[in-house]
Amino acid sequence: MAMYLAKMMNPDVIIVGAGIAGISAASILAKNNLNVLILDQAMAIGGNLHVQSLVTTERTLFLKHQIQQWSRLSFWLNKYQQKITLQCSTRFIGIDHQGTVMTAGLSGANNNLYKPKALILATGATEIVKPINGWELSGVMTAGAIQRSLKLLSKPFSRNIVLAGSGPLLLIVGAQLVEVGTPPLAIIEGGEPFRHLLKGISLPFNYKIEASAYYFKLLKARVPFYSGAKLQKISRNSDNGMLNLTKKKKSGEGKIITTNIVGLHDGLNANNYGTDFYSDLIIKRAGDCRNIMGAKASEIDGLNVGMEVVSMLTESEVKLSPWSGINSHLKAQKTIREIYKIKPSPDMFCLDDETIICRCEGIKFKDLKTVGNPTVREARLSGRLCMGACQGRFCANFIEEYLSYKNTNQEQIKLMGNRWPVRPVSIRDFVNTTDLTSNEGQIAPVTKNPADRWSHG
């Protein structure tokens, strides 16, 4: 991979996120002669699926079609490296009312102000995690965090891991843990995917192959897989400092599992809030952050969104059909959700009163029960719900479902705010910014053959 040097100029388009959709969008923008800056707060590019480790070149946890996709994306990055600037460990801080974008590097570099003509958010999905009594204990993390660590190191980071929640990611991470030699002690799945397996017949062939491969890997390693089961409580074992997990099956029988690490996961949500503001800046979202669509569809979506921005910036009157194929992937994602669907049950909201609901602010279930039937504003300002540093990313989902369940006949309120995570940004970061807003980039003239702008094979 070529090294990308920061070019001190104002880009035409800024893309937040160097994952599938971001790189895909950048490639079509660059092909149409637009200057692009891609930012990513991570050290490694590739987003979550293709995370390109800086520690190892091993890619044993990547499947063949994933490696092929990355080869394609990195080919385009290299081909258009004169037009694309890539900055890692650089955060998108925000946009002011005039459309000025601020970025800040984690170590103080790349603190810049830009005035792009368009901004594309390609930040990927956010994990849904339902609150569990004891989930705030250290050693409890998301299954996604475990997966990212495995991909970055290609080696175990801990033994004694239990995965719990619901969704195909538990199978995938479980299989990846087997691959690195630390099979999970158990997978506790709330849904009953094997009961609804027939629904999976309509899934595309490679989805079925991939799922089967993961499942047989777990079967071969004899990983206990409990379906229709729920993790009820996590507590610290005072004798050995490990975590005790209380697991409950539908039949009511319980079991205690002792472990060091718990990986929780209850599905994926789009990450489509933040940056509601007023200026002439064009803002688009692409990939999983717009709508959960998976890897292949994210690549197509990036191309389509990129082309949309090209059309807007170059005022082309030519309208061409976008790349197709997204709908079949959206349909597949919907089918997968149906396979894993957990039937609502009376004990869905039977949590211990002391269960932490808001990880940021420490709001407990007993506090949530007193909230009543609030408007969004009341819930946030009086209830202090979704007002912590994560701005609702890890609590809004459960709170909205609970309030909707409690206040039947009311439309489910939407608590997610308009803000990015509230992250530490020092005054020094603001003071040390370099103003690049007046270094104008050049907008490309419309090409003579409009079809050229689309060809990308």
């Binding site: 490694a44 250290s138 996604g144 990212r148 995570p421 020092s426 020094r428």
Partner: protein, 97 residues
């Protein structure tokens, strides 16, 4: 885990922590058996949770850089990290052994 192969060292509250070049702070800390990173202003445990900078739960103090997400910040030779207490002050244990 055999840590003897790792040559690079940084410091967590004065304790030497080996890391692999290219690794994040949280990755090195957890492999060294440390997954408690301090206390937030609201009294919650600071620890690795989402791993991608969204939950803001793994904030630690890095000398020279301020408060950062441990899951995003790269390890560097000789880096000094401290946990942050509930009152916002760092732990104060920053002497190399």
């Amino acid at each position: 885990m055999n840590l003897s192969e790792y040559k690079s060292v940084m410091y967590w509250n004065g304790q030497a922590i080996k890391f692999l070049p290219g690794e994040s702070l949280s990755s090195a800390l957890i492999r060294s058996g440390i997954n408690y990173f301090g206390v937030s202003p609201s009294g919650q445990n600071r620890t690795l949770f989402c791993g991608i900078g969204q939950c803001q739960g793994c904030i630690v103090h890095v000398e020279g850089s301020g408060d950062v997400e441990a899951c995003l910040f790269p390890c560097q030779q000789g880096l000094k990290l401290q946990s942050i207490n509930q009152d916002g002050h760092v732990s104060g244990k920053n002497d190399e052994p």
